[in-house]
């Protein structure tokens, strides 16, 4: 039994090392001169190919767009959209479960329905609608994300609200606590674990989303990180692979930090979300 375990651990260790190799390769290549990235992808930088932090310096303004700006837009859009979704979807889910009238039933089933509709079905008309309503800036796009993300968030929150005993709230209401206060003072604290799980799913989605902001925003003015990365290659001619790798590394690092710092919540959230879904 012990030797068997050792064999399993050895195999898993080897596989894990292979698994992190692509990210390591990006890191290595981000310190190499452009011409060496393609010809010696898997070699460590040597005296000839090593360029220090040149690629990172170059990457900051590479692609005719400041990288820092795309980072700020990405952070703002992700945080604002996630906050909107968490607030309004949890409110809606609580109302739907507690009141359960015709409107909330219809809305709930529309939410479930929206989960099986692929984005390609609505992308053209959505971009047009966003344009018409002037929701096409990074500061208004959270409204679009709220609409597109409402379905899944309401569905997940509803599943959780059903498990909250109504008696706690009724006791509060007898004590003179109004519905709005009840929701924010009593229901929200009970929902914290679900808020975290759903929040993480939304952050992962919006941070990495490419197509929606690409179609909705005016990309000559506003780019998120995925749009910026895509347009590095899109602007044909001189693609500096060294600088591209530097930017890819810079865009992976925050993701890894986020993952390491809330790993437990991420894993729990996915396990919970999948069992419900």
């Amino acid at each position: 039994m012990k030797t068997k375990h050792r064999a399993v651990i050895t195999v898993l260790t080897v596989v894990s090392l292979v698994y992190v190799l692509p990210v390591v390769a990006v890191a290595i290549n981000s310190f190499k001169k452009n011409t060496f990235v393609k010809s010696e992808t898997f070699a460590l930088p040597d005296a000839e190919s090593f360029v220090g932090v040149d690629n990172f310096v170059k990457g900051m303004t590479f692609g005719n767009y400041p990288f820092a700006k795309s980072v700020l837009y990405s952070i703002f859009i992700t945080v604002a959209s996630t906050a909107l979704i968490l607030l309004f979807a949890s409110m809606a889910a609580w109302f739907i479960v507690r009141v359960n009238n015709l409107i909330s039933k219809i809305f709930y089933y529309l939410c479930v329905f929206s989960m099986v509709v692929p984005f390609q079905m609505i992308m053209y008309t959505l971009a047009r609608t966003a344009d018409k309503l002037s929701l096409n800036t990074p500061f208004t796009i959270p409204v679009i994300y709220l609409g597109v993300g409402a379905g899944m968030a309401v569905f997940m929150f509803s599943g959780f609200v059903k498990a909250i005993p109504i008696e706690i709230e009724e006791a509060a209401s007898i004590d003179g606590c109004g519905p709005v206060k009840t929701f924010f003072k009593i229901v929200i604290p009970l929902m914290t674990p679900t808020l975290i799980s759903v929040g993480i799913l939304e952050i992962m989605w919006i941070w990495n989303d490419y197509l929606l902001p690409m179609l909705v925003l005016d990309i000559t003015k506003y780019r998120t990180i995925p749009i910026h990365i895509q347009y590095l290659k899109g602007s044909y001619g001189t693609v500096d692979l060294g600088a591209t790798m530097a930017l890819i590394l810079l865009s992976i690092i925050p993701v890894i930090i986020f993952y390491v710092s809330c790993q437990k919540h991420i894993v729990d959230g996915i396990a919970a979300g999948a069992v419900k879904g």
Partner: protein
């Protein structure tokens, strides 16, 4: 149990606040989903380049979409890709989960490593892997864009790398739900490892297995970012009748290119393709609901 129609005083007091609790999200939902969906459905039956000039043409767009070789190719390519990636992802993630569900040394580290690629976005992932594949293939003086086979297997490797960790989490959660006493009983009855796996574990893991199967099918069919970033549909071949076919273009990318690329079709045909795509994806979702719903009912009975 109270009749649902008789709301308690408490529930009635909440109902007055519907405008606040449901209002904002319903407006956003109407803007972000409902209206675009209805409008998109209507436009699939119209001929237009500008929406203001849309003319109703019935099913003509669907006829054009279904006779477009490029679209049919993207459907077949997506279907094959989905089946291959579904099998590989599930077999591999199940195997990894089987070992990681046991409390062996370093389980946490392994889980962390396997899950990590999942958080990297599709576009970044595509460029990351295009560097790796081209770094390797350039030794043979070729590129991932040169041959559809390279593109196909390149994307398979990429989505496996990305999704195995995700499915692994669900499978581990599934393994944890198996009753210890059942495994002990199997052990006492003299079942060997393989028998325990196939006769005890797998039957008890059917919910997790069906979730992962459907998730990977949906992910496969809807793949877009990775496809765009790794191959963008390359290479292009010319069919017998002279139409250009992109060898590694999947359905979502084909629809995107019909809308925004240099396509001879109008936007109406692109929207019709999107409706066909929607029907396929929705059918997968409904089958999933039926399968998982039936199991829930069985459990209740």
């Amino acid at each position: 149990m109270k009749n649902k129609k008789d709301l308690t005083i408490y529930q009635k007091s909440i109902r007055k606040w519907g405008w606040l609790f449901l209002g904002p999200i319903m407006i956003a939902f109407a803007i972000g989903f409902l209206w675009p969906f209805i409008h998109g459905l209507y436009l699939a039956f119209c001929d237009f380049r500008l929406v203001s000039e849309a003319k109703f043409t019935g099913l003509a767009n669907f006829g054009k979409a279904l006779s477009d070789e490029g679209f049919l190719h993207s459907f077949v390519f997506s279907a094959i890709f989905t089946v291959v990636s579904m099998i590989l992802i599930n077999v591999l993630s199940f195997a990894v989960a089987y070992y990681l569900a046991k409390e062996i040394k370093g389980t946490k580290v392994f889980r962390t490593v396997f899950f990590m690629p999942n958080l990297i976005g599709g576009i970044v992932l595509g460029y990351l892997w295009s560097m790796i594949f081209d770094g390797f293939l350039s030794m043979f003086e070729t590129s991932v864009l040169m041959d559809s086979k390279f593109g196909f297997w390149g994307m398979i490797i990429m989505v496996c790398w990305q999704q195995i960790g995700y499915m692994m989490i669900i499978y581990i959660a599934g393994f944890k739900t198996i009753d210890e006493s059942m495994l002990e009983a199997a052990n006492i009855d003299g079942a060997n490892g393989r028998q325990t796996l196939f006769k005890v574990m797998i039957p008890n893991m059917l919910p997790a297995i069906s979730i992962c199967l459907f998730l990977s099918i949906a992910n496969g069919f809807k793949l877009f970012d990775q496809n765009l970033a790794l191959t963008a549909g390359m290479p292009i071949t010319t069919a017998a009748d002279g139409t250009m076919i992109k060898g590694t273009e999947m359905m979502a990318l084909n629809i995107y290119n019909t809308f925004y690329g240099q396509s001879s079709f109008g936007h109406g045909v692109a929207q019709a393709k999107a409706v066909i795509f929607f029907v396929i994806v929705a059918a997968i979702g409904i089958i999933q609901l039926m399968v998982t719903g039936r199991r829930k009912n069985e459990n209740k009975a």
